[in-house]
């Protein structure tokens, strides 16, 4: 990933409070983030965490109650209306619902931001045609958006977003309405654009997979606060907060109780182990002749490393269990421990 020096987006102590009829809703609380030029920065959180409000504060579609947003050094909140409109041309945005103009052809949609900027028709047309090539839909110039699939509509929206040569691309749940395969192709298009044009990208999503796929940095948002922030590999490897853990390992809540297993149970924690989980267990079977039963696994590969946890069932034999723990602990970045002996679990734990 190309990383240009210096920060492209700086959010400083940003708060946003909505006034409802008789109470105040604090959507964002004292948020400070720095996005460097060339980053693909993920902002992830459950719905209602304030992601959409945050991204709308970046281009002042929502006015922050307090705090500052600097884009390429420009204080967005201090701009007069005309200045803000000019600055917004540098900050393109794509949406979950694509938001294309339904009464315009795809070509005319892509021309729209150029039209706003006062570019000549012919020039705008030529540029739009080039952008249609970039997003892979050169034959859709004369079609109306209603006749396109969701993925195609999002490609047109991306072409439209790129038309004004923005420095920043904001993606507000841009793939949430798409199927997994289309999501992948849209994400790779975004990554491609980031690499080729050096555009800084902010990705708002509730899907872990999206962040894993294209982001290099991530912030986890919960109840209007940034609870974790940093490199994707770091944050996803060792989510510190409860909310972070819930996001990274959503299955972890359903970890089966050891009571279900016959014999002893070992919990393995992968903390960036080099290999995938399977070979370790297989290797143990070959080297130590211990056959372990995988009772539960929730692991993720981030880069070439593995994070997550696994429960192994072993025969009810202290010597074998100790040997297995010794063997597994020798592997780098893996910790192993025996779970306490099975007890009749109170049913409330199981939810």
């Amino acid at each position: 990933m190309r990383v240009e020096p210096g920060s492209m987006i700086e959010i400083q102590h940003l708060s946003k409070t909505f006034l409802a009829s008789d109470n105040e809703i604090e959507a964002l609380k004292d948020i400070s983030l720095t996005v460097r030029g060339g980053d693909i920065y993920g902002i992830i959180g459950m719905s209602g965490a304030g992601k959409s409000t945050l991204v709308r504060c970046i281009n002042m579609l929502e006015r922050p109650t307090s705090g500052k947003v600097l884009i390429d050094g420009i204080d967005m909140g201090a701009l007069p209306p005309a200045g803000l409109r000019a600055a917004r041309r540098n900050i393109a945005m794509i949406f979950q619902s694509f938001n294309l103009l339904m009464q315009r052809t795809c070509l005319a949609n892509i021309c729209f931001p150029l039209e706003l900027a006062g570019m000549k028709k012919q020039e705008a047309r030529e540029k739009a045609l080039r952008l249609l090539e970039i997003v892979g839909l050169p034959d859709k110039a004369k079609e109306y958006p209603a006749r396109l699939s969701g993925g195609q509509q999002q490609r047109i929206a991306i072409a439209r977003a790129l038309a004004a040569d923005p420095k920043v691309l904001l993606c507000d749940e841009a793939t949430s309405a798409l199927d997994p395969q289309t999501t992948r192709s849209i994400l790779s298009l975004i990554r491609d654009i980031n690499r080729r044009l050096g555009i800084t990208v902010i990705v708002i999503t509730h899907q872990m997979s999206v962040v894993e796929e294209i982001c290099n940095r991530v912030a986890i948002l919960e109840n209007g606060c940034v609870i974790e922030e940093g490199e994707v590999t770091e944050v996803f490897a060792r989510p510190q907060s409860a909310a972070g853990q819930r996001l990274v390992f959503p299955e972890a809540d359903s970890e089966p109780l050891s009571a279900e297993a016959e014999g002893r149970v070992i919990r393995l924690i992968f903390n960036g182990a080099e290999a995938a989980g399977q070979p370790i267990i297989t290797q143990m079977a070959i080297d130590e002749r211990i056959a372990a039963n995988i009772l539960f696994a929730s692991t993720k590969s981030i880069g070439s490393r593995v994070y997550g946890k696994m429960l192994l069932g072993l025969p009810d034999n202290g010597e074998i269990t100790a040997r297995a723990i010794r063997y597994l602990t020798k592997c780098p970045n893996v910790t192993a421990e025996e779970l306490p002996a099975k007890k009749p679990a109170p049913s409330s734990l199981q939810q």
Binding site: R85, M102, Y144
Partner: protein, 248 residues
């Protein structure tokens, strides 16, 4: 009376009037309706736009007293029955047209009655627009004026046209009513012959022509609205047309 209605003399006389007077009356009604609609749109559409963009949280928020008084004015004009409104604006009509009699003069009260109606119809059309599309335009740096002219109105065209069709048929009804006090056209013929001279057959002919006019305007409006709608409906229409041969 019934014998009278269908006696050969009355039929012959009615046909005579149908041939001699109706074509011109039809023309008068048509042009009064269309001209009145045109002026009503010129005044009403911008007001409808203001009602939508000017409200709190709109694209171009205006002082709330302005929006409130605009609403009151529109409601006020809409609550006066057309026949009474026509009489009330007689001095104004005379001021503008120099006369209060004739088809051209009847356009003044028609416009005054129709523009508040058109403003409300335009307002409801513009409110149907998905707010996310406006937000997208704002995110691209569109000015309020650009949003109105390049987004809100073009995107609402199908709905605006079908609502305008409603306005046209309503105004057509008003033109007929204006025949009662000096307006020309089919309404005048229906009232003069039917009400003042008991020639019901002539009135019937005039009414039939009015019905035909409404049908024509409505069909044209609906066809135009569907034709200009680039959204999903057209796609479905095409599909249906394609699938018909295979089904039959």
């Amino acid at each position: 009376m019934l014998n009278n209605l269908l006696s050969s003399d009355t039929v012959r006389e009615a046909l005579q009037i149908l041939r001699d007077d109706m074509p011109f009356a039809l023309w008068e009604t048509t042009y009064a309706t269309l001209l009145a609609t045109l002026f009503a749109v010129i005044i009403g559409l911008p007001l409808g736009v203001l009602l939508v963009v000017g409200e709190k949280g709109g694209v171009l928020p205006l002082p709330s007293w302005l929006i409130r008084s605009l609403n009151v004015l529109i409601n006020l004009l809409r609550s006066i029955p057309f026949l009474i409104l026509m009489i009330m604006v007689i001095p104004f009509t005379r001021l503008i047209m120099g006369t209060t009699v004739g088809t051209a003069a009847s356009i003044v009260p028609l416009v005054i009655a129709a523009f508040p109606f058109v403003a409300r119809l335009a307002e409801s059309s513009l409110r149907e627009l998905n707010p996310n599309i406006i937000e997208a335009a704002q995110s691209m740096g569109a000015s309020p004026f650009q949003i109105i002219v390049k987004v809100m109105i073009p995107e609402s065209v199908p709905s605006l046209i079908s609502n305008l069709t409603i306005a046209v048929t309503t105004i057509l009804g008003y033109t007929a009513m204006s025949g009662a006090i000096g307006g020309g056209g089919l309404g005048k013929i229906a009232i003069n012959y039917g009400y003042h001279r008991y020639k019901y057959l002539v009135m019937l002919f005039a009414v039939i022509l009015l019905i035909l006019l409404v049908q024509v305007f409505q069909s044209l409006g609906t066809a135009l609205s569907v034709r200009l709608d680039r959204r999903i409906r057209q796609k479905q229409g095409r599909r249906r047309r394609k699938s018909t041969p295979t089904l039959s």
